[in-house]
Symmetry: C2
Subunit: 423 residues, 2 copies
């Protein structure tokens, strides 16, 4: 008799096991194993293959379990590569004003816009922000999300930015969803520096970035690069300062006007350039060359009724990896539903269902430099797995506005079950 190998969790009989592994070549492009199974041990993937080939010597630990996925789809935990997780207040009044035709400037004049969220976030206590963040993480998890990127940027003072990043650290300690924190002090100019741009940039570079780095509160540094926010030179200076302190660059680029943001992303070696509605031809080529991931945000297109969409098909054809994210934030995309972003990515940006799935797994992982750990189901990767009650992968973006998640596994542990039933 062969020796037993203890495993913690087995999921088997999946109608489609989407591995997203580059080592499995199939027609779908998603590395699908029909009748697939996965075995998990100590938070990592131990084995992936056909259920019929499951090694006989695998024995489930007494605390472990075996999950039957007959008729269903199993895939890597979803990754939301662009969120503004921690903020106070909400802006439903502004939503109504936009519908009624008020312009961005008029809304800011009525006390709306980013700065109104900055005020609410500064006012909110650490515990209030933590409680709000926890509920948002719960909602993300219920949509199948196991890892997110999360930006600060509603503090815009040393104290308030640190508070936001510390809330993220506290949330990381209590919640199963992994958080990659990003410092976005350069989200906009706070009102106390409205007429002293240089002084705010100095504050960012000389005080905030060093302090954030010293306390190891962020992994990335992001800039809202836009004529009305931080111009190209200012953005470069801030991102280069971040790099000197070990913060990896990311950019909000070319959202509202063509501004060379994508080219700058390539120049500074950014992990991602995000938004990209007005990206130039040259910007696309440079992103492809330097392997900068494009993070596209259809929720913002929807919420802001944008006429112009990012040229996703062109980016894909030129070899840019495209990720899709929620952009979760109170002003331009108030949602935690990454699956809905997949549907919108298909309908607005003409991604195929395959590309939409890559966009929230392998490509999203790459935009965060975590492609060796998450985003695909390969041996030794983190055991972040979602079981979906759908008959095939194309069905996920197709049947929209509905939670298809039945179960979420994070680092080998079942952390969420959809308990829906009527009484």
């Amino acid at each position: 008799m062969s020796q037993l190998a203890q495993v913690d969790l087995i999921i088997k009989n999946a109608k489609e096991l989407l591995t997203l592994s580059p080592s499995i070549k199939d027609e779908s492009g998603l590395g699908i194993i029909p009748g697939g199974a996965i075995a998990i041990k100590e938070g990592k993937i131990l084995w992936v293959g056909k259920t019929a080939d499951l090694p006989k010597q695998f024995a489930i630990d007494s605390h472990g379990q075996e999950i039957d996925a007959t008729g269903k789809v199993v895939m890597p935990g979803l990754i939301d590569a662009h969120t503004h997780l921690v903020f106070g207040g909400s802006r439903e009044n502004e939503f109504e004003q936009r519908i009624q035709g008020f312009s961005y400037l008029e809304i800011a004049g009525k006390g709306g816009g980013i700065l109104s969220t900055v005020e609410a976030t500064r006012r909110a206590s650490f515990e209030e922000l933590r409680s709000l963040g926890r509920r948002r993480l719960d909602r993300l998890l219920s949509k199948g999300v196991t890892t997110i990127e999360a930006k600060s940027g509603y503090g815009l003072s040393l104290e308030a930015e640190l508070k936001i990043l510390q809330v993220m650290r506290a949330l990381q300690e209590e919640h199963p969803v992994d958080i990659a924190p990003t410092f976005l002090g350069a989200h906009t100019f706070p009102k106390e520096f409205k007429d002293e741009r240089r002084r705010y940039i100095d504050l960012l570079i000389k005080e905030m970035i060093p302090k954030v780095a010293e306390e190891r509160l962020a992994e990335f540094c992001d800039v809202f690069c836009e004529e009305k926010a931080f111009n190209l030179e200012e953005s470069r200076e801030i991102l280069e300062a971040g790099k000197r302190y070990g913060l990896k660059p990311k950019i909000h680029a070319d959202q509202l006007s063509p501004g060379g943001g994508a080219e700058l992303a390539a120049e500074v070696g950014a992990y991602s350039a995000d938004h990209l509605e007005y990206v130039s031809q040259r910007g696309i080529e440079r992103m492809a060359e330097k392997e900068v991931t494009a993070v596209l945000l259809p929720g913002a297109s929807f919420f802001l009724s944008m006429k112009k969409y990012p040229p996703a098909r062109e980016m894909i054809e030129k070899g840019v990896a495209v990720a899709l994210s929620t952009d979760l934030n109170p002003g331009s995309s108030m949602t935690e539903s990454l699956p809905l972003m997949m549907t919108m990515g298909c309908l607005f940006f003409k991604l195929t269902p395959k590309e939409a799935i890559q966009a929230v797994t392998v490509h999203a992982a790459r935009s965060m430099g975590r492609e060796k750990e998450i985003g695909s189901l390969d041996v030794r990767m983190k055991a972040d797995v979602v079981l979906l009650d759908i008959p095939n992968y194309r069905y996920l973006p197709y049947h929209f506005g509905i939670d298809h998640v039945e179960l979420v596994v994070k680092k080998g542990r079942v952390v969420y079950r959809n308990k829906y039933s009527h009484q």
Copy 2:
């Protein structure tokens, strides 16, 4: 001591109780009672008012309960006025083909389109259809929906249309969500009558409508009035035949081209005209005059990437009551999320949050002739009530893609609770 009055259920302390009652005039237009309470007895609303004014003599029955809605919104159960609840199969392949740019005709050539669902529905057994319908009703309920309209129309033969309507009847017997059944034999021409339009219309008028009416399987009769489907004369003839058998008229009107459908709706006294992308000026005026409710379907605009939207603001300004519905169906709107339709109604059609709420309550009730029973919280109305975990009514369409429903009461009974929590 005053005599005790037994009640079954009390919901109290609602931050906003949206009564939608015409008897309460307030600035919002939604009949809001701040700090509101509602008392329910024998499936009906017994009392509505401020929590502070709750009559002291109300005593909760031993089987009853008291629900605290502090900080939350309470409103009438949502009404989905246009669904195609019962069908077999799904069309995710077609979804992908549309994204890839194939036209409707090309997709039909590849075996897609309505007729592919007709085939799948004819093939499906009664029990299969019942099980699919049950899951869809469960999803609708989880979104806060307590009443729907449901159309046949994927059978297109006497036998298959009766099967669909009988499935609805069986679902009505087992499920808390109320179903108003509509006969839509005139959805399209089945392939066996492709070249014999007149014979199919005769079948509809002389066999199907009489049989459906005889077995009391439908309340409404609907027609897809469109150049490519049933023309104006054919639609009139079918709806008039329905009326002779007691079926109330409804029309799929002016969706793909201007065809006089809205005018016909007014002429035949339809309860609603639905879609209306290409409605004429005259059509809007006639609908207002004859009090035909407009049922708008933003999910179809989204799913089909429609360039043209129905002129909702103009209809509202001219006095037409506007309802919003999911259009739940496998080809042009695969969703049960009525709250998401509210967000899309706001963003695509420029309804205000107030109008979006009226659109799924009072106006939806009117489109089904049920405004005296459901859609508002008034004494003697059916006790169909939703408790939402949101701070105010504007928040409902604003925070999108997320289930805010905490609890649903149908005819005085708690039939759904959202049990979400991570493990």
